[in-house]
Amino acid sequence: MTLGFYPGCSLKGSSREYAESVLAVAKAFDINMEEINDWNCCGATAAHNMNKELSLALPARILSLAEKQGLTEIVVPCAACYSRLTVTKYELSKDAALKTVVTEANGLEYTGLVSILNIIQMLDKYITPNLEGRVVKPFDHKVACYYGCLLVRPHEILKFDREEDPQSMDVLMLKAGATPIDWAFKTECCGAGLSVSRTSSVGRLSGKIIGDAKDRGAEAVIVACPMCQSNLDMRRDAINSYLGEKVDIPVLYITQAIGLALGLDRKALGLQRHFVKVSV
């Protein structure tokens, strides 16, 4: 079985381990992840702050390329890319004039028929139903599932999970043998793009998240977004100085946690690439 794969920029750089773990888990279930040829940046947060048409044309090009390649379903693991692609599909389905502008700019046909899956939807659809007998090392830890801002919002467009108190990741982790905790910062902002420009703000915002997870006894934070992961992991020094203590709870991509439960090789899952040592 083949699924389309849009890695986006992060998964080729700072979050290589996310890509590695996605591919490793897919491979374990004989799913062929076919990368979209000649893909481009989705525009992320920059484009839609500057030019609406550009911010739609970039994701539309990716979707057009996927169509051209004959892909009907693509997996977009990065929450920001997922949001941009889905919003584009939604906007173009509602506005024929805009669709014409965008298609002409790209010079590529666009029908909007490709379906877009985030990583949770992908796992839920193709992995967990076949999980029986495959969990060799249950991920037997208390985990705080962290969804961030983009995975479930805006609800009208994404129609995915409950926007204030999402549950889908918790359900998946439960199936992988973990004990998800009830905590207060599931959808709080981690500081996202301020990572480089205002590290101290990230320290404060991500600090609250890590702080609450720690207070409630989490042994790992589970994420599904490269931005969230790098802020919570790479900015741990800033977080710890905000918290005034050293907190060493690791931050795992959900695919890494599930990969561990499946007994996949730690290196294949890229666990050695983290800043906070993955002790679980």
């Binding site: 204030e164 207060a184 910062f185 609450d212």
Partner: protein
């Protein structure tokens, strides 16, 4: 040859701002059969009506077309004017140039052209109008009031005091509604029970009022002056005549842990219960869903202890049919519960409560006897936060409207808290303070200035629990959206006031309309606030929109006056806009072939079968016949009749066809 008068109204500027009224009148004057046409600023005014009356008399008009606003607004006005000038009122038609044209289009040629078209079709129609006579129907001078909150109580008393009979039905075991749950009331801080309970007693004792509690409307048929209502009297499992209200049963019932509805779940009650000590009637009911006898077939303790033998386990619901002439709907409202708010914990924090729960805590008759103690551990909260607009004014939550009462009761709550908990700190997060009303703004200022309540303008994004405190995290928009976090001991949500569950079904039973939020719709937002679109059914209180007590009472008295006005007549006249099955000379008698599809189609069971007999009394044909007393003129039968044998008077096939042809310019 018809002599028709056309009267074009400017409606101030409402019509003339976009339609060239003079041109409409001038063009109408050129039509065949139009003997007079004119335009005027306000046709509905006295001079305007005189223009019509004089033209009828002087020109001998046989038909009138008034081109102005919606017939729902002024058809009665103009028909009356015609009648006063000696013309049958049903020879008057209205072209709706305002709602159907000037208000919805811009000023240009096409708009005027459309206005001319609207006038032309009615000129052609009126040529086929016939004189019709109003139908007389008797009035049953008994009113049905549905809902025994303050609005229903006020309406019942007001109607009863005019000397007419009232049947009041209340769904719960006691009357009183939300007002009976309130502690003190804004803006005077007088005790709610003290002003309400005497009225409840008055209702129970009034010779003209029959009160049925634990009762609901089952179905409704009929029309103004002549409704037939079926009422379901739910079984209370006691014989009310024998019960003395001694309370033995409620003290001895072993099932004691049911969350009390009256105390909003903050107190407990037994399975056989009186909702609160001042209830009217002060007699218990058995809550069968929680009674051990009904669940397990064993117990009957209440029966054993009851000194008068009043317990009746085998009592069944009773369906009762009553005839009433008018109905006042006063079923009130409800508030959203905390589980509606994921961001505030989906109802999982015991100390995040609703405003109604706070009322119970502050009430001397409540579970804490009026002390403000938090539900989780009974401690007195040192820091309390009130959240305005919880759900209200939030399109994302599907409640874009303002609930109107909460700004005021929050100020009241914060004030009561400050009066009761000395040294306590209270905070209010608000969007705007909406305190329009006599003494209202002053009341809020008192809370802020005299009682030191801290008002913070901004929204709260989430509430979560940490180390036994509720962390309320929001923003202060007067300080440049600065994040604010308050570690509170208790949080009170002013949750949105919404329509009752089941409001929609109730409205459908009564054939009254409701708005998108399921609040019942008034007939006109300004001029008919207590009427519905169904004649003879009126609204009072918070079933129409969230309302405070003064407004609910004013509405109730308004509705009562409407009912009294109706009952001041012995006969009502109804518009003769009803269906008729044609009759012709023998040997055809009627084009009706007797298929009786119409009988099954009629929603009012108004169509009967009539036998047409020859001189020897032998039945030669069976045809449909409309009972003019029952027909509501809905026209359903007309659509069903395959031989076109039924016409609605005033809207005949001929008239409709003529209108269409007039539009197609082929008349």
């Amino acid at each position: 040859m018809s002599k028709i008068g056309v009267f074009v109204c400017h409606c101030g500027e409402n019509i003339s701002a976009t339609v060239d009224c003079a041109k409409v009148a001038e063009t109408a004057g050129t039509y065949d059969g139009v003997a007079f046409s004119v335009d005027y600023k306000y046709m509905c005014s006295d001079p305007g009506q005189n223009i019509i009356k004089n033209a009828i008399k002087e020109k001998g008009l046989t038909g009138v077309v008034v081109a102005s606003c919606s017939p729902r607004m002024h058809e009665p006005t103009f028909r009356k004017a015609c009648a006063e000038a000696g013309l049958n009122p049903f020879m008057c038609e209205m072209a709706n140039l305002r709602e159907h044209c000037s208000w919805v289009h811009e000023k240009n040629e096409a708009t005027t052209e459309k206005a001319i078209d609207l006038v032309r079709i009615l000129v052609e129609k009126v040529k086929y109008n016939h004189s019709l006579n109003e139908i007389k129907v008797p009035v049953t001078k008994t009113a049905l009031v549905i809902g025994g909150g303050i609005a229903g109580i006020q309406a019942s008393l007001d109607i009863a005091n005019t000397g007419h009979k009232v049947i009041l039905i209340e769904r719960d075991p006691s009357i009183g509604g939300h007002m009976s749950q309130l502690s003190e009331t804004f803006p005077t801080l007088d005790c709610s029970q003290c002003i309400l309970t005497p009225r409840m007693v008055e209702v129970a004792q009034h010779p003209n009022i029959t009160l049925y509690t634990y009762a609901e409307l089952e179905s409704l048929e009929g029309f103004i002056g002549n409704f037939k209502a079926k009422i379901r009297r739910k079984s209370k499992s006691i014989d009310e005549k024998l019960c003395t209200g001694c309370g033995q049963c409620t003290t001895k019932c072993p099932v004691k842990k049911i969350p009390s509805e009256f105390n909003e779940g903050l107190g407990k009650r037994t399975a056989i219960y009186v909702p609160f000590p001042q209830a009217v009637p002060n007699k218990p009911v058995i809550d069968r869903g929680n009674c051990t006898y009904y669940i397990k077939g064993k117990c009957k303790v209440c029966e054993i202890v009851c000194p008068t033998g009043a317990i009746r386990f085998d009592q069944e619901d009773q369906i009762m049919e009553v005839e009433v002439g008018a109905i006042v709907v006063a079923t009130g409202f409800t508030v959203k519960q905390p589980d509606f708010f994921p961001e505030y914990g989906y109802g999982k924090y015991a100390d995040v409560i609703t405003g109604l729960q706070f009322e119970r805590l502050a009430s001397a008759s409540g579970p804490t006897l009026g002390e403000i103690r938090r539900p989780s551990d009974g401690k007195i909260p040192e820091k309390i936060v009130f959240l305005a607009c919880a759900g209200s004014r939030d399109p994302a939550k599907g409640i874009p409207y303002c609930s109107k009462i909460c700004c005021m009761y929050i100020a009241k709550h914060a004030m009561l808290y400050q009066h009761k908990v000395h040294g306590g700190k209270s905070y209010v997060f608000y969007m705007d303070i909406r305190a329009g009303g006599k003494q209202y703004e002053e009341f809020v200022r008192r809370a802020i200035e005299d009682d030191g309540v801290n008002y913070i303008r901004g929204r709260v994004s989430k509430i979560y629990e940490k180390n036994g405190k509720l962390i309320v995290s929001g923003a202060d928009t007067l300080l440049n959206a600065m994040p604010v976090e308050i570690e509170a001991d208790m949080v009170v949500l002013a949750t949105a006031g919404v329509a009752n569950e089941g409001a929609e079904e109730l409205a459908q039973k009564m054939h009254i309309s409701y708005d998108p939020y399921k609040f019942f719709a008034e007939a006109h937002p300004k001029l008919k606030p207590v009427e519905t679109n169904t004649a003879g059914i009126f609204l009072a209180g918070a079933c129409q929109a969230p309302r405070d007590i003064p407004e609910s009472v004013a509405m109730a008295s308004g509705a009562a006056v409407k009912v009294a006005g109706l009952f001041s007549q012995d006969e009502l006249t109804r518009e003769p806009i009803i269906a008729v099955v044609n009759r012709q000379a023998p040997p055809v008698y009627s084009s009706c072939v007797g298929c009786f599809l119409c009988v099954s189609a009629c929603p009012y069971q108004a169509i009967e079968k009539e036998e047409i007999k020859n001189r020897n009394g032998e039945v030669i044909k069976l045809v449909a016949k409309v009972n003019p007393g029952l027909c509501q003129g809905c026209g359903t039968c007309v659509a069903f009749c395959r031989t076109k044998s039924i016409d609605i008077q005033g809207y005949t096939h001929e008239q409709m066809y003529t209108e269409v042809m007039a539009l197609l310019n082929e008349y």
